[in-house]
């Protein structure tokens, strides 16, 4: 495992109406790591992703990506640094086709402000390759707003991957899909992350999935990290099993 630190949060604090979503969080993520945050609903897991992507500002503390402090940057600037994210409710361009969603993402990555056509050969090939990986070639020309949640979820992930990020943050990438589909999604996703050396941080509820695919699990309750380590080790801790996994 590479020891280079990709993301480093220190003494991170934020609260909403008295509820502490982050209460002095210190967290380091190493390059190439696949980590998952688990914890009960409302414990601040998604807030951590929001803090990392500029959607929420911390009241104290910082999040550093490489050598850049993300704390005061906009989501747009953070994306440009190489951090992509997916959402619990898939965020796609509903009036565009599946293929066009990816082409817009590829244009955003390479060259957006141009009069060249969106449907050029090179990005089209790359988009089609991505669609093939996620088994979406059959729906490439379909308007995405008319497709089921599971497909939109996959496209949301494919959009994030199209940006060629070095860090990928995913909020419950397998929620809202069947238990069979969950494993299919992860079977498609994990090899790409490994192959491309992408560091990934997932918010996830499914313990079986975390155990099977993640290198590291971070247990989060009431805005604090209460346990952190390899899944095989964390999942055996009595305290975690009783207080967190039971709630999850």
């Amino acid at each position: 495992m590479n020891e280079e630190i990709v993301l480093h949060s220190s003494d991170l604090h934020v609260e909403f109406g008295g509820v502490k979503a982050a209460n002095g969080v210190d967290l380091k993520l190493r390059r190439g790591q696949l980590a998952s945050i688990i914890g009960p609903n409302g414990s601040g897991k998604t807030t951590f992703l929001n803090l990392c992507t500029g959607y929420v500002r911390p009241t104290r503390g910082s999040v550093v990506f490489g050598n850049t402090d993300l704390t005061r940057l906009t989501p747009r600037a953070i994306t440009r640094l190489g951090i992509a994210r997916t959402f619990q409710l898939p965020q796609v361009f509903s009036q565009h086709t599946v293929l066009e969603n990816l082409l817009i993402a590829l244009a955003a990555r390479d060259r957006f402000w141009t009069m060249a056509r969106l449907h050029r050969d090179a990005p089209r090939r790359e988009a089609e390759e991505l669609l093939q990986i996620f088994d979406l070639s059959d729906v490439a020309g379909r308007e995405i707003g008319r497709l089921p949640e599971g497909i939109r979820k996959l496209v949301d992930i494919a959009i994030a991957l199209a940006l060629a990020p070095s860090l990928l943050l995913m909020d419950e990438p397998t929620s809202g899909v069947s238990s069979q589909e969950k494993f299919e999604i992860m079977d498609m996703l994990v090899p790409i992350l490994k192959e491309r050396g992408i560091t990934a941080l997932l918010v996830e509820h499914d313990m079986e999935l975390v155990e099977r695919y993640m290198d590291r699990v971070i247990v989060w309750t009431a805005g604090q990290v209460v346990a952190d380590g390899p899944p095989s080790e964390i999942m055996r801790k009595e305290e975690v099993l009783r207080n967190v996994i039971g709630d999850v």
């Binding site: 565009h96 066009e100 244009a107 955003a108 957006f112 141009t114 060249a116």
Partner: protein, 316 residues
Amino acid sequence: MKRRSITALAIALSLVALALAPQFQPVLRPLLLMAMAVSFCALGLLILLRAGQVSFGHALYFACGAYTVAFGARHVNADMLTVTIMAVVCGTLLSMALGVLLSRYRDIFYAMLNLAFSMVGYTLLLKLYELTGGSDGISVQVTHLAGAEIDAQRFGWTLYYYTVALMGVVLLLIARYLNSPPGQALAALKTNETRLEYLGISGRLVLYTGHVVSAALASLGGAIAAMATGHVTPEMAYWSRSAEFVFVAILGGIGNVVGALAGALSFELIRTTASAYAANSWQLILGMVLVLIVLFAPKGLHGMVQQIFRRNGDAQ
């Protein structure tokens, strides 16, 4: 057939029809000329509608283009090409300045702020009598085209074919823009600005660009209208004129650039026919047409044509 080929074919057919129609029916020429002037503005509105925005103030840029032609022809150069370029540049600069503020807003706020600016413009044109001639307006005298003097007898025909040529260039350029990433991002802005930001794209800059392009088109429309009528008045900046452009854009539909042209032609035809047969109630007829379009063809004339082709395709 690919969408791109359909657009190119539709543009080519429209231009051929526009070029030939007044040769067979010369009486149609003024109507078609005004329809083309309005269609430039409707094209501008089409861009904004793609982004889910509407402006009730684009008459400001229309008037800006028209008055620039009037001033330019009087004080700088009475060349058709020169004053047209001046009009587009002035409209663009004005929209770039106002767009800094306007692009921060969305939906009703964007629409009403545009309206507010246009009413400020209207009032200035009306009150700055020494400069603008107040409600009397200014006459427009264009005498040359690309350095060559225009025969006064042929002025109408010269302006008409000059406008047809401009229409061809503009339709191709706007079709290209709408197929480019910033053009496609307009619809993306409408459906999910959050995702756009998380792709590293500024939704505000996408709208700003769309706003400036649409204003440039409206000022081009104003320039043509000024030369076609030979006179400019503050009414060109009045809000009802802005509403007319919205009407035409909705009538034509936002699915294809040719929709704006079809909308403008239909609008001018309805207005002329209604004025001829029901002089006191032509607005009522126009209003009823808009209600019918919204109720039965919300995607406008372009949507109707598309539906007919789809039905025929299904039947086969």
